[in-house]
């Protein structure tokens, strides 16, 4: 496998690039592990990596039904930011952004983090007030935030609609300069390679069908490649959290919903930042290949189908046209959907469950990608020490019965509204 460097590129070029080794092994599952992580997306692989690296646990398996990063890790809009306001969220996402900033060096794998900044547009005085409050909370926690008025936004983003015809005129924006994008596939591959080098077994094409039980405790998983025993089983399966929890007899405060994203045909560089529309759920950035990457609203009804409906395509493109009129004749190249585990308050879970031996990492709603490093880091902490790190201590299942929901948007227990 070896260490990736400019020198290794030069050396392999001399031999015609024929001798690059596999980035990670393809082992058969062992009969037993210390920890089994279900789900080979960014969160599961990051958990395995930090368990091995930070906590010295080496006997770990990551079990994936399909292929690495084939779920939501490969289906998002690659945005990374830490502009959260509620206690319990703010510092967690900031830790994640700090891990992102050094991730390429840490993993020895270029995750192409690009801190191009992110604008959240405001279209009313009320939104400006809310943005100012959010910005102040962020700055009080040591996170960068700037508030721009309409003229400053117009100087920076001249291609938005500032005409008298604008459906929702731009009043200003809150800006985080350290936010940006990262290469989503590279995140899965980088964590997989780094975890593999620490001795983690990554087992693909292996579906978990049930659990092994002893005295009411989970002691492993039943898979399509046979039973695998484990002292601890961690679920990091995003949209399928509900499905795998049901197999253990748990009901979760989660519904699964489809979220779509879109890529246009490639353009010359135009959008050099990330822009979130404030009047509807819509955001836009530009990939390194030139395609405009856009995301919109949930389809609105429960779904495990990894495909979206056409009404949301039309709705999202209407938002795009309302925000950036000049792209109205652009064609869409692709659209796809991922299954979001929408929690009842819009915030995630990194927690023990009521079943001994079973741990849950889920409920990430739309926000899973940016959380990947800190999610793995904190889930690893929980699995290793059996107690949460303080920055993720609020992400429990019992916060609903205690009345401590973390409802960033303030919409109540409506999963399709977060």
């Amino acid at each position: 496998m070896g260490y990736y460097s400019a020198f290794s590129i030069f050396r392999h070029a001399l031999s015609g690039n024929k001798n690059w080794g596999r980035a990670w092994r393809d082992p058969a599952p062992k009969p037993a592990y210390d920890v089994v992580i279900v789900g080979g997306g960014g969160h599961g692989l990051a958990t395995a990596y930090y368990l091995a690296k930070e906590h010295g646990i080496k006997n770990i398996a990551v079990i994936e039904k399909g292929w690495l990063g084939g779920g939501n890790t490969g289906r998002n809009t690659t945005i990374v930011r830490s502009n959260y306001m509620m206690p319990g969220n703010t510092l967690f996402y900031e830790h994640s952004l700090k891990l992102w900033e050094d991730l390429s060096q840490d993993l020895n794998y270029n995750v192409m983090i690009s801190q191009r900044g992110q604008y959240n547009l405001c279209h009313s005085q009320g939104q400006m007030d809310a943005a100012r409050r959010r910005g102040n909370v962020m700055r009080a926690n040591g996170i960068d935030a700037e508030l721009f008025d309409r003229n400053e936004v117009r100087e920076r983003l001249p291609y938005l609609d500032y005409s008298n015809n604008a459906r929702f005129p731009v009043q200003g924006a809150i800006f985080q300069s350290r936010a940006g994008t990262a290469r989503h596939d590279a995140v899965a591959w980088g964590y997989a390679r780094a975890a593999d080098q620490c001795g983690v077994d990554i087992i693909q094409q292996c579906e978990v069908q049930g659990y092994l039980w002893e005295n009411g405790k989970v002691v492993g998983v039943e898979t399509t490649k046979g039973p695998i025993r484990a002292n601890k089983v961690g679920l990091a399966v995003a949209g399928h959290s509900g499905h795998l929890a049901t197999k253990a007899g748990l009901r979760l405060p989660i519904e699964s919903h489809a979220l779509q994203a879109f890529v246009s045909e490639p353009l010359k560089p135009m959008v050099d930042t990330v822009i979130s529309y404030g009047a509807a759920h819509f955001y836009i950035s530009q990939s390194d290949k030139g395609g405009l990457v856009m995301g919109g609203d949930l389809d609105g009804y429960n779904s495990y189908a990894q495909r979206g409906g056409l009404p949301i395509v039309e709705h999202s493109m209407a938002c795009a046209k309302a925000l950036v009129p000049s792209i109205s004749r652009l064609r869409l190249l692709r659209h796809w959907a991922g299954i979001m585990d929408m929690s009842m308050d819009g915030s995630p879970f990194i927690t023990k469950t009521s079943i001994d031996g079973l741990y849950l990492n889920g409920g990430w709603c739309y926000g899973g990608f940016k959380a990947t490093p800190a999610s793995g880091w904190n889930f690893a902490w929980l699995l290793a020490k059996d107690e949460p790190h303080e920055e993720a201590a609020e992400f429990t299942l019992d916060r609903f019965e205690r009345g401590y929901q973390i409802d960033e948007k303030g919409v109540g227990p409506q999963p399709n509204a977060h």
């Binding site: 009901r251 519904e255 009804y301």
Partner: protein
Amino acid sequence: MLRINCPVCGLRDETEFTYGADASVTRPDMNETDVNAWLDYVFNRDNPRGPHQEYWHHVQGCRQWLVLERNTLTHEMGDCRLAKEVSK
């Protein structure tokens, strides 16, 4: 595009409807004092991968609330009935 077979209006596009909520959840009796019953009702869901009972509002049609059975994995449509009849 989902197409929903409204018992009043017939087969109509999903854009005429608004999704309501999981229809398998029933509100506890108003005199219920067990906190867990209410916790379950407000927050916890079966979230099935397969057949799902759900409320839809035919807001741009007959304005009736409907209970639809839909498969969340395949979007296959099952029974669709008026909510007021289901609740009887």
